[in-house]
Amino acid sequence: MRLEKCWFCSSTVYPGHGIQFVRNDAKIFRFCRSKCHKNFKMKRNPRKVKWTKAYRRVHGKDMTKDSTFEFERKRNRPERYDRNVKEDVLKAIPKIAKIRAIREETHHKKMKQGKHEKLRREAEKELKQGINMVKAPSVFQQDPSYTLPAIKVKVSQQKSVENHPMEE
């Protein structure tokens, strides 16, 4: 039994679920549900659709490189059954999941923090460079040369033309 990944959203396709499309060059596209299949038929790019894993990876929303992902990999060589190994694996799964959750949380935190810091640094730099352009509002009141003189402009009012040739 093999758990495949959905071609569109990269979620797990459990046996008996979804549909698979076989192209004439024998490439198999597996979809987890009709939503993904329909999006594929609409020729949407999963990298541009925001709810897919591909989008999140491309845009740095999710953790991509991590040693916890190494466990979940496609292997073409079937593992020989061993009771002890199986027990160890079953024990390790929740541990790995926990570690991954923690790492993902820190990744998200770091990502958000990094953005905040960057914005602040940029704003500070801009302020330093352009401090000569910023003046207190009282200066404008004292010196009339900074402000434009008030000009009155006459606006000619157009007469409305009541002519509608489309009218019946």
Binding site: P15, G16, H17, G18, I19, V22, K41, M42, M166, E167
Partner: protein
């Protein structure tokens, strides 16, 4: 003033605007219709369905004239009776002959034994004789593993890809 004009327009040109909107809708529909072909609901292989022949028997295209099983028509893995519509000039099978064929690819999805579904790009057939032995000696493109359950092992061994 603008408001009055708008109201007048809506009152006056209702028929005109409705006509316009109708035409625009029609054009949009046509545009979708062009793209619609790939997304239309695929159906059974029934009488007058033209299928591609994916072996080297000499036929290029056949038209289904009878599905040997099923009331609605044939599906993936079923056998059909077909008439050869296009053929290579010096092949085993000539144009106009009535032949048997196994549907090895169908655009309509078919349920698999585990409950998932499989769908192919096109409708394709491999020509066989009455005993179920393939006429050609090669099979092109992917074929489904369900053919084994239908006792068409020879086609499976000839095929390059099994999906």
């Amino acid at each position: 003033m603008a408001a009055s004009f708008a109201s007048r327009c809506s009152r006056v040109g209702r028929s005109l605007f409705s006509g316009l909107s109708n035409s625009s809708l029609g054009s949009a529909h046509e545009m979708t219709h062009n793209n619609y072909f790939s997304q239309q609901q695929r159906t059974f292989i029934q009488m007058r369905t033209v299928l591609k022949v994916v072996d080297n028997s000499g036929a290029k295209k056949v038209m289904c004239i009878q599905a040997l099983k099923g009331k609605k028509g044939a599906r993936l893995g079923d056998t059909i009776v077909a008439s050869v519509k296009e053929a290579h000039p010096n092949g085993k099978v000539k144009k106009g002959k009535v032949v048997y064929g196994v549907v090895v690819r169908a655009a309509m999805q078919k349920g698999r034994c585990d409950g998932s579904e499989v769908r192919f790009d096109d409708n394709a057939v491999v020509l066989v004789d009455k005993q179920g032995q393939p006429i050609g000696t090669r099979v092109f493109g992917p074929v489904p593993h369900e053919l084994r359950r239908k006792k068409h092992v020879k086609i499976l061994t000839l095929a390059g890809h099994i999906a």
